[in-house]
Symmetry: C2
Amino acid sequence: MLTAAALVLCGALATGAEAQATGDLGLVVERASGSLLVVDQSERARIGRIGGLGDLSHASLVYSPDQRFAYVFGRDGGLTKVDILEQRIVGRVMQAGNSIGGAISDDGRYVAVSNYEPGGVRVFDAETLDPVADIPTGGKTIGLVDIPGTRFVFSLWDAGETWIADLSDVPPQITRITGMGANPYDALVTGDGRTYIAGLFGADHLTALDLWQARPEPRAILPGYAEGRAGLPVYKMPHLEGWALAGTEFVLPAMGQHEVLWVDARSLEETGRTQTHGQPVFAMARPDGRQVWVNFAHPRNDTIQVIDTLTKQVIHQFKPGPGVLHMEFTPRGHEVWLSVRDAGRVMVYDTETFEKLREIEAESPSGIFFTARAHKTGL
Amino acid sequence: MLTAAALVLCGALATGAEAQATGDLGLVVERASGSLLVVDQSERARIGRIGGLGDLSHASLVYSPDQRFAYVFGRDGGLTKVDILEQRIVGRVMQAGNSIGGAISDDGRYVAVSNYEPGGVRVFDAETLDPVADIPTGGKTIGLVDIPGTRFVFSLWDAGETWIADLSDVPPQITRITGMGANPYDALVTGDGRTYIAGLFGADHLTALDLWQARPEPRAILPGYAEGRAGLPVYKMPHLEGWALAGTEFVLPAMGQHEVLWVDARSLEETGRTQTHGQPVFAMARPDGRQVWVNFAHPRNDTIQVIDTLTKQVIHQFKPGPGVLHMEFTPRGHEVWLSVRDAGRVMVYDTETFEKLREIEAESPSGIFFTARAHKTGL
């Protein structure tokens, strides 16, 4: 039986030291061990580990609107629901043979997963992980993002199409947009959910859609952006999600080149190029857009360059260590966390002084995902 | 003594039903009773009330980075720290005689308050509420916002100046910008922390600063925007914080007119006007910018108009009830909460269908503040 004293103690446990706000938490993917490190941004510390997630190479994840649950998309087709307050797995389904990322609807009701094998997109109830809709596409799907109105957008590698799936009713209503170009390999949507941009493996341009139009029309942008220059070997496909709004421009990694491209956010015309230390993988803007941090493909993946947005010049370069795979800024940008895989460390830096503030041990860390992503479109 | 069974129960209380994520919470100011309603966006419900906050007319608040604590700025000069997990006041100081809002630094270390009486800005430790810095200005200060780099920006009503206080070292380093114009009454900073815009009571224009420049220069924008037209009585000063980025434009309430103005976000030139039902108080963009929701000054404050950003046309109008004082969108914009003061209700609407989803009882509700604000600059 509970005594009065025990009840008081219970109360303290329930609402005191054990109470945990979730606004400054995050998860770090430990790819080799199939686990997630739970981290606290304010404490600059790891506060737990969750194991048993299967193959986490190229894993990504999204958060529920309350920032309590994460949905982890494993390369092996596993969709795992994790409770970051209780630090445990609360649901897991093997939903395909090979998947490549997912998204959560704006209302938090649905989680969608983009699949290589058997292709198509599958949609699940975010609460129960029960299947809600199956959208076969006849092949690999890529570039799956959420947009307002309980909608998802994704592209078809083989068909060169982009589909919009409206989940405000089930079964979903599908809008097909043809003529996107040969072999879209990745895509992104801008932070306002308006502009969807697909990178093409089979063409020397990208394709943009204005999703605010009733019938979005594919528009080629940056035509011939690598024309006339010998392409370097693509050690790692640049991540389009690394596109970042910096001031009035987007910054993006140039495929196969040692440079980043600057693109006017309104006209989508090229406005400049900055030579970089290596072939960029991610070009990430600090949340205020004032700086852009760039990491690089192997063998130059021990280095970070920081570019000033106004001058487009590199203002800082340093070597955090071997295998810098990912970066995540605190939501208002005063600090940045870096995964340094082969050092077995996550490193935390001040973005104004560039001082290293902390090293946190991790097993082959890759993606870092802070809970503030819950409130953003398209991440 | 605790039995094993009791310990198990404690564990359940600590991490089970009582565990509370903070990403989808919020606070509603109940001005008449000096209390705050704790609300849950996902449940569309009130989950608690915190009393004893003093005079909450024109109160506003900001959140700690972990979304656990709120700092409430009362009109009576009270600064109150509230724990939304434990639903109680954890600190309170009477820091001035009459205050008009505040801000929290990007790193969450400092809370700054802008004062009418005795004027100036006071800065407090966010953890303890101990005083950190006192910045006298010789008069009323307004338009206090945070920007990156542990800095605050605010303006001086009497002197027509804007000051930047850099708190990365204490005592703060102050940069004074003169020539802002006569009697700035409110100001805002854009979401990227770059452009600071002050409204002037004593001039027929606004003044902008590019804070990315080493020496920001005041620039007059929208000169004579009400020229040649009889000004209507200003029942309520429009809130500049209602400026909203919608697509490529800002939308703002025109002072003393029945219209909202559209301003190009890059050139800051006027691009259009939309006639409205009354004198707008807030013109708030849905987070994706696709819609703008407008409420109005007395006696037309029972109505909401929704404007489509692409066409600049009113696409929906309805009467939630008497005294619609404030609006807050869920972070990804699928729902909006409205304070309907004289109905004693907060009402929740779907922003796609405009269907009313819920009514929540509240005592004279005014400002609604969701925890996602913790991760935004300048809110």
